[in-house]
Symmetry: none
Subunit: 225 residues, 2 copies
């Protein structure tokens, strides 16, 4: 496992590097956001641990920039600020988790585990990056969707939802599972975003002769082949 640590405070980075390496993790260190942007394309990390307070471009801006550049590695934010607002902002901008300093190293490890588990799972489950069924073709790497040979435009959320359904072909997935997997952190289960996005997807990829997504009333949805 290879992790990038973005941290300018030497005391903290030393602490992190020592702890992580003792757990068999390879660590790269960048002291500011600019360094990360200069080299992000050369190395494939499994996880990025990033302080929010950085000299120059701050951590949240960095996350935003990386996501914009289609870097989807899990990112764990690190901050001395414990306010919920920061947490929410960071998560909104594309971070996957958040931990406040100081913290138990055990907790950090368990969060790292949690964040990289899905990744590994996906790698095991989806060795092929192209999924095809009926008139539908989805290129998971290139972010492209073809319907009957015609390329169609999906918004990021629509794409993520489709990918999740495809990862669970022929298995029922509940709205809660979809919310967890596609929307991430939330306590709001009085929302119908899932329904709405299922509807968007259906409009874009289905037609009367080619249906993929079936509703199981009172349960959830299933992508059937």
């Amino acid at each position: 496992m290879q992790i990038l640590v973005v941290e300018d405070d030497k005391r903290i980075s030393d602490f992190l590097i020592k702890g992580l390496e003792e757990n068999g993790i390879l660590v790269t260190l960048c002291k500011n956001a600019e360094d990360v942007l200069a080299c992000y394309s050369t190395i494939q990390w499994d996880l990025i641990i990033c302080d929010i307070m950085l000299p120059g471009m701050d951590g949240i801006q960095l996350v935003q920039t990386l996501r914009y550049k289609k870097v989807f590695v899990p990112i764990l934010m690190l901050s001395a600020l414990g306010s919920v607002q920061d947490k929410v902002t960071a998560l909104d901008y594309g971070a996957d988790d958040y931990i406040t300093k100081p913290f138990h190293f055990d907790e950090l490890l368990s969060r790292i585990k949690a964040l990289t588990r899905r990744q590994q799972y996906q790698q095991e489950e989806a060795p092929t990056s192209i999924f095809s069924y009926g008139e539908l073709t989805v290129d998971l790497n290139q972010y492209r969707v073809l319907v009957a040979g015609q390329e169609i435009d999906l918004s990021p959320k629509e794409f993520k939802l489709l990918v999740y359904l495809i990862e669970n072909v022929d298995k029922t997935v509940t709205r809660t599972q979809i919310l967890n997997a596609v929307w991430g952190i939330t306590f709001d289960n009085h929302t119908n975003v899932v329904d709405v996005y299922i509807s968007y997807l259906r409009n874009k990829i289905e037609n009367p002769n080619n249906k993929y997504i079936y509703t199981l009333k009172g349960v959830g949805y299933i992508f059937k082949t």
Copy 2:
């Protein structure tokens, strides 16, 4: 697995209950510490998930009291506050773990797994997801039921009831057991829903030559092979 959730915020408790139940966990809800103390001796839980902020007695006091009363069930604290002090206090007073809101549901599940590892926690992908007997075939993953090769529609409750009966093939189950497992109702003997749903099921899956569900007068029902 049976978990007690102590949480006064309905949105959060709804979210927790839904997510946990979808992972095959039985959930009891208490809205305050006092309710827990009133009934902790009657039910044996495998884990307690407890919010710190509660009306009246708070979560930390509750943990302290339970430990004083020699209740050693693992306790996972839940809080919006990210301060280290709270975390340390909670752990000092006898909690086993701590998670701050909001969180990834995956992380909660993995912590639950960690805390209950001693007990058997069999939530690994059910290897046999298809049950078949006589003309009846039930696919638990795809939520499909076939009778003599013909797919039939079951409502969620009907399906859940059927699954419960199948899980207890050749074993008598009482109405109370069914109520607990399928409806989650604990104290209500003034309803005949079970009878009604047994009737629905029989109409949908049985015919004069293929009977599966037998009534044991004064006792309950049994799915016989």
